[in-house]
Amino acid sequence: MDIPYTVEIRRDTGLTNGKIGIWLFLASEVMLFGALFASYILIRVGAPSWPRGDTILNVPMATFNTIVLITSSVTMVMAWASLMRHKFGTFRLYMGATVLLGFVFLVVKYFEYTHKFHDGLFPHTNNFLAIYFTLTGLHMLHVMGGMAVNAYFLGPGAKLWKTNPVWFTNRVENSGLFWHFVDLVWIFLFPTLYLL
C-alpha cells in the first residue's frame, strides 16, 4: 500500500502528510529544548554565583562552529532549490557540502570536549558544566541525526529522484526543515552558554 499524500496536497490541511508530520515533530523538539532552557534558567538564577561562559569555554571555536552551521543551513536550502530547478548534479554538490559542514561541526566539538576533559572539567564538576554538556550534547545528537538523514538522501535514498522526483524533493525539504531547526537551536545556545 502506498503512503498517502506524499506528493499530492491533502485538501483539508493544504499540506502533504510529510510536511505536517515534520512540523509536529519540530513542535515537540521545541518543548524538549525548552525544558532544558527552563532548567538552565532555574539553575542559573538559583546559584549564588555563575561564571561567564567565556571564562571557561572557547569562544573562537564556538564562533567558528556558528559560522559552519549557518553556512550548512544555506547549502541545505540551496540543495532543495537545486531540486526545484531539476538540477540533480548541483543538488549532490550542495547536499555533500551540508553533510561535510555537519562533520566539521562535530570535529570542532570533539576538540572542545576533549580539551575540557583534559583540563579535568566534566559534567559532574559543577552546574555550569552539567548544563553545558547536556545542552550541547543533545544538540550534537541532533546534528548527527540530521547528518544521517542527509547522507541517506545523498546516497541510497537518491534513487527516488529517478522514479518520483516530486516526492524526493518534498523529502529533502522536510529533512532541511529539521536541519534548519538544529541551526536555530544553536543560534540560541551559542550566546546563552558561551557569551553570557
Binding site: G34, A35, L42, T63, I67, S73, P191, T192, L195, L196
Partner: protein, 108 residues
C-alpha cells in the same frame, strides 16, 4: 505548449528570486554573528547583556525560520501548530520566573 513554457520560466524566476533572498539572509546572519560576539567584549551589565544577546539571537532565529524554513509563506495549519507551541513554550519558560520571584505557587 507556450503556456507550459511560460509557466516553467516563471517557476525558474521564482526559484532564482528565492536563491537571492537566501544569499542576503546568509550575509545578514554572518553580520549578526559578528555583532553578537563583538557585544560580548563590551562586558555590559548582565541584564543588558542578556537582553541584547537574546534580541540578536531572536532576529537571527526569525530570519532562519522565515526564509530558510519558508515560514513567511506557509499554510494556516502550520501557523496554528506553532502558535500552540509558543503558548506552551512561554508557559514552560515562565515556571522558573515564578519560582525565582517566590510567586504564587512556590514558597520557600
Amino acid at each position: 505548449m507556450t503556456t507550459d513554457h511560460a509557466a516553467t520560466s516563471d517557476h525558474a524566476a521564482d526559484i532564482d528570486r528565492h536563491v537571492r533572498i537566501y544569499i542576503t539572509v546568509f550575509v545578514a546572519l554572518m553580520v549578526l554573528t559578528i555583532i553578537t560576539v563583538a557585544i560580548s567584549y563590551l562586558h555590559l551589565p548582565i541584564a543588558a547583556a542578556v537582553s541584547v544577546a537574546l534580541l540578536v539571537a531572536t532576529i537571527k532565529g526569525s530570519l532562519v525560520a522565515c526564509y530558510f524554513m519558508h515560514l513567511i509563506s506557509e499554510k494556516k495549519l502550520i501557523y496554528a501548530v506553532l502558535l500552540l507551541t509558543i503558548v506552551f513554550f512561554v508557559a514552560l519558560l515562565s515556571l522558573p520566573a515564578i519560582t525565582h520571584s517566590n510567586g504564587f505557587w512556590i514558597h520557600e
